[in-house]
């Protein structure tokens, strides 16, 4: 059995262990600093063999040849012989005790426009290296420490071309902010790997196991491939020492097994002791089954655009039809100007790029334009020649769109291979050898024929956007035909796209007609509209239609942030201090306001309330996190303590009384205490009974305090049943008050079953309480 099959077979049984760092191990055996690790290792086979042996003895199932820096740009003419020697050394050391594999690192060059290297040259370099490794007998490849997904793609494609049946694990390395150096998120990497011919997606090196854990969790959530985790042993200190002990490393890295990783090893700073400790911590177990989230998305180097929520806006303006400035830039090969036109459509979810008559496009312009726009909005390749399409897709650092395919066999055959190779979605037109189908039913029939051809080539229907075709009103076309076709497509469950502005071609007052038609299509569920994104009305219609079509909750529509940067007075200071959770500054600013004669009620209304709203919206948008929210709430509590004694009528501002408790048998109250803090700050009179409270005591407290609502918390399923008991007891005592439930095991469904309101966290508990006590 070859190594790739052996690895897959092992993965079917249990989590697989890789080895750890190579460079530091060789340095311990005399390798001087500053030399090429690969060349030194190839000349010191005994030392290399010792390192491989030590990892096998520590429990590594897979050992990686010392080929991380074995690229053409680093080894030049020595690439093939050095890689062969190092591969053979790993194979010999493995000797049936472990699976030999290759480590492939970045080329050492940056691809244009960031650097000077051509993507194709980088691909060819990886092809030379991986062919040498394959010929030496390697069939398992770990593509490690990449930061740019475009370079990673070059390595993936070259490896797959060199070893069609090999096992490929493709990794990026991530910073503390959860992004690769190029700005790629774990979700974007997962989406990318879903559509490329890789067996595993992963992350290595980064900033230690704690920092890598959320990356691995995110990858596992969105990827159906195996997940590989190779954290380093934290970051080295100024002397180059890694402080994390093997036990600390193993303890933190074990969490990745729980998060869904199938292949686990170590990167910089790890040793055989780290791998031994890791194997001891993780043990022999199958891959954890984690909940997978089905996601379809377009991606660029640094952006993920989800398909299926609101209609996606595809920027239409990078098209020379009717644009003399763009025509001129294309004719002159002025890629910088074209890129600048593209950046003008920054609001686009996807940017469509059409460069006009392709025989007139100067050489190299397609590559330069697509490379220049590889960050920001994902790209739609609106080109027809297969050569140009491939040149464009090569430059994408994510999942783009091909606009478009005709439903004709030969046309599809010439282009579908590019999508299968590079990943991507396709626009499918109801046009075949006989031209455009005229009726909605005929258009659906042609689309289905096209889908069948695509399926024969292994291209799935869920990566196809069917175009109902928008014809110009001025030609006598009936827009109802487009709408009816769209409805038929949606009924069949197809993704859909349309060039909306075509409808008004040749007519005056185009904006109004386009807007009306866009609204009609979007309400019918159009998934992507090719539109004028520079018109502010477009975004408003898209958002509004998403609500009307039931695709987005009205509460989730984004509103522009209310900035009052010019206000630097004490009111502004107080709001800012509350948002930042700065208690001392909040008290100082509030004192200034009180001394100036401002009434406490006004301070609450004009400072506290908007600050709490701001905190909530920042938290919802994941710009701040729970500890920040608590710090803000603490500052608010300090403010209220300052204001209350000065308020003329105590309790005047109370929004009602709510009894809070953790139910009988439950001794955990951190969540309930947070709810109590937030409700108090929001102006509710909170009667907090504490934890482990009998149902009868809760009911009695409602009666005695004439409470308008009850809030109950439970951590485990064994105590959640007490919530229902409280509801029944309230009913029995004719206390018809609404009950809010929450806690680790409590779900929306459970709350609905027992007839209670539900809050997922302390912040949403305030919203729920407001509704309950209205």
């Amino acid at each position: 059995m070859d190594s790739a099959k052996q690895l897959k077979s092992l993965l079917a049984e249990r989590i697989v262990f890789l080895d750890g760092a190579m460079g530091t191990m060789l340095m311990n055996r005399g390798m001087p600093a500053g030399v090429s690790t690969e060349i030194w290792a190839s000349e010191h086979r005994r030392e290399l063999s010792e390192v491989h042996d030590s990892y096998i003895e520590a429990g590594s199932d897979v050992i990686l040849a010392c080929t991380f820096g074995g690229s053409v740009s680093k080894l030049g003419p020595g690439t093939v012989p050095v890689n062969r020697i190092l591969a053979e050394a790993a194979i010999k050391a493995a000797d049936g005790r472990a699976i030999p594999a290759a480590s492939i690192g970045p080329s050492g060059e940056l691809i244009k426009p960031v650097g000077n290297a051509d993507w194709m040259n980088i691909y060819n370099g990886f092809l030379t290296q991986t062919k040498a490794l394959t010929e030496a007998g390697i069939s398992v490849f770990f593509l490690e420490t990449f930061t740019d997904p475009r370079e990673l793609k070059a390595a993936i494609l070259a490896t797959r071309d060199a070893c069609p049946d090999g096992f490929i694990s493709a990794h990026l390395t991530f910073s503390d902010n959860g992004r690769s150096g190029a700005g790629t998120s774990p979700t974007a990497l997962a989406m990318f790997c879903e559509q490329l011919a890789v067996d595993a997606a992963g992350a290595n090196c980064s900033t230690g196991p704690e920092g890598l854990l959320p990356v691995i969790s995110e990858l596992a959530m969105f990827s159906t491939k195996y997940i590989t985790a190779e954290p380093n042993s934290g970051l080295p200190d100024s002397r180059g020492f890694y402080a994390m002990s093997p036990e600390q490393f193993a303890s933190a890295t074990e969490e990745m097994a729980w998060a869904g990783a199938s292949i686990i090893g170590g990167c910089c700073g790890t040793t055989p002791s780290h791998i031994k400790a890791l194997r001891r911590a993780v043990g022999i177990r199958s891959t954890e089954k984690v909940t997978k989230h089905s996601l379809q998305a377009f991606t660029s180097v640094d952006r993920v655009v989800t398909i299926g929520n609101a209609m996606l806006m595809v920027g239409e303006s990078l098209n020379p039809t009717g644009r003399s400035d763009l025509k001129k830039a294309i004719k002159n090969g002025d890629h910088a100007r074209i890129i600048s036109f593209g950046r003008e459509q920054e609001k686009a979810d996807i940017l469509d790029i059409n460069l006009g008559l392709e025989r007139l496009i100067p050489d190299g312009l397609v590559s330069r334009v697509f490379a220049g726009l590889c960050t920001g909005s994902p790209l739609s390749v609106d080109l027809s020649s297969p050569l140009n399409i491939e040149a464009a897709f090569m430059q994408l650092g994510g999942i783009g769109l091909l606009n478009s395919l005709m439903a004709a066999e030969k046309h599809i055959e010439e282009r579908v291979g590019i999508l299968l190779r590079h990943g991507g979605y396709a626009v499918l037109l109801p046009i075949d050898e006989n031209g455009l189908a005229e009726t909605p039913e005929a258009r659906l029939k042609v689309i289905n024929r096209g889908l069948a051809v695509l399926k024969e080539h292994g291209f799935p229907a869920n990566r196809v956007f069917a175009d109902p075709i928008v014809k110009a009103l001025a030609t006598g076309a009936d827009p109802q035909c487009t709408l009816s076709t769209l409805m038929l497509f949606k009924k069949q469950g197809l993704l859909t796209i349309a060039g909306v502005s075509n409808v008004s071609h040749g007519l005056p007052h185009r904006d109004g007609i386009n807007s009306a038609f866009l609204a009609a299509l979007a309400i019918q569920g159009l998934d992507a509209g090719i539109v004028n994104v520079t018109n502010p009305v477009t975004a408003r219609i898209t958002a509004g239609a998403a609500v009307l079509a039931g695709r987005v909750n009205p509460a989730d529509i984004d509103f522009p942030e209310d900035e009052d940067a010019e206000n630097t007075g004490a009111e502004y200071r107080l709001r800012k201090a509350l948002v930042r959770g700065d208690t001392a500054e909040a008290e100082a600013a509030a004192s200034v306001l009180l001394d100036s004669g401002m009434q406490p009620e006004r301070i609450i209304e004009e400072c506290l309330a908007p600050a709490m709203d701001k905190l909530g919206s920042l938290y919802s948008a994941k710009k701040i996190f729970l500890p920040h929210l608590i710090a803000g709430a603490e500052a608010a509590r300090a403010l209220m303590a300052l204001l209350k004694p000065r308020m003329q009528v105590m309790g005047k501002e109370s929004h009602g009384t709510i009894v809070l408790a953790t139910v009988k048998g439950d001794i955990h109250d951190i969540g309930k205490n947070l709810v109590s803090l937030f409700l108090s700050n929001a102006g509710f009179n909170v009667i907090d009974l504490g934890k482990d409270i009998p149902s009868e005591t809760i009911v009695e407290a409602v009666r005695v305090n004439n409470a308008g609502a009850v809030g109950l918390s439970a951590l485990m399923s064994s105590t959640a049943s007490r919530m229902e008991e409280v509801l029944q007891l309230l009913q029995k005592n004719n206390l018809m008050v609404p009950v809010l439930v929450g806690g680790a095991v409590v779900t929306k469904e459970f709350a609905a079953q027992i007839g209670a309101f539900f809050a997922a966290d302390a912040y949403s508990a305030v919203e729920a309480a407001r509704k309950m006590l209205k």
Binding site: E210, L213, S251, M716
Partner: protein
């Protein structure tokens, strides 16, 4: 059933682990939140003398089982680890940022403690562990918690009628063991 003579010192989690557990990515924390997490770690360090653990070994080799032949040396351990009562005292009271961070830190700390304990058992037995489970995991009934606690009468950990442990930052674990060469 044997009691293994293994006592380990609880290892503190790292600052980053505490921040992640609190729900906050470390690079977004800011100095106030980091300070609060550091305070939590310092507090836990002072309380380390209050912590305790226990290990029971069950050797089931030779008993009839469908595993006979593929798992000849069948060994199972029950593990218990607790940070002690003092943490509970510090966690009681209205919510504050410091209490919240201490709760997060103590949660990671008791898990880290359990991992350290398991690593020590692995060393002692010279065997490889299976996945460690605990009552409530999969179809392992939560009610088993009570039975496990009964086996550690001197641990200071008690289980209430809802199968929750006191001190709160306590946990149990069940691990199977496989020979190194298997």
């Amino acid at each position: 059933m044997n009691t293994l003579p293994i006592q380990v010192v609880p290892a503190l989690p790292t600052l980053k682990q505490v921040l992640w557990r609190s729900g906050c990515p470390p690079h977004k924390a800011g100095s106030d939140i980091e300070h609060s997490a550091s305070y939590a770690l310092d507090t836990l360090a002072e309380l380390s003398g209050d912590a305790g653990n226990g290990v029971l070994l069950f050797d089931t080799a030779g008993r009839p089982s469908f595993l006979e032949g593929i798992w000849p040396e069948r060994r199972i351990t029950l593990l218990i680890a607790t940070l002690g009562e003092k943490v509970d005292t510090l966690l009681a009271g209205p919510a504050t940022l410091n209490r919240f961070m201490l709760d997060s830190a103590a949660s990671v700390a008791v898990e880290t403690y359990m991992k350290t304990l398991q690593a020590a058992v692995a060393e002692y037995l010279n065997m490889v562990p299976t996945k460690r489970i605990a009552p409530g995991y999969g179809d392992f009934p939560l009610s088993a918690q009570k039975e496990i606690i009964k086996l550690f009468p001197d641990s200071g950990v008690v289980c209430n009628e809802s199968f929750m442990l006191t001190p709160i930052k306590s946990m149990t674990g069940v691990t199977g063991w496989i020979p190194q060469n298997n």
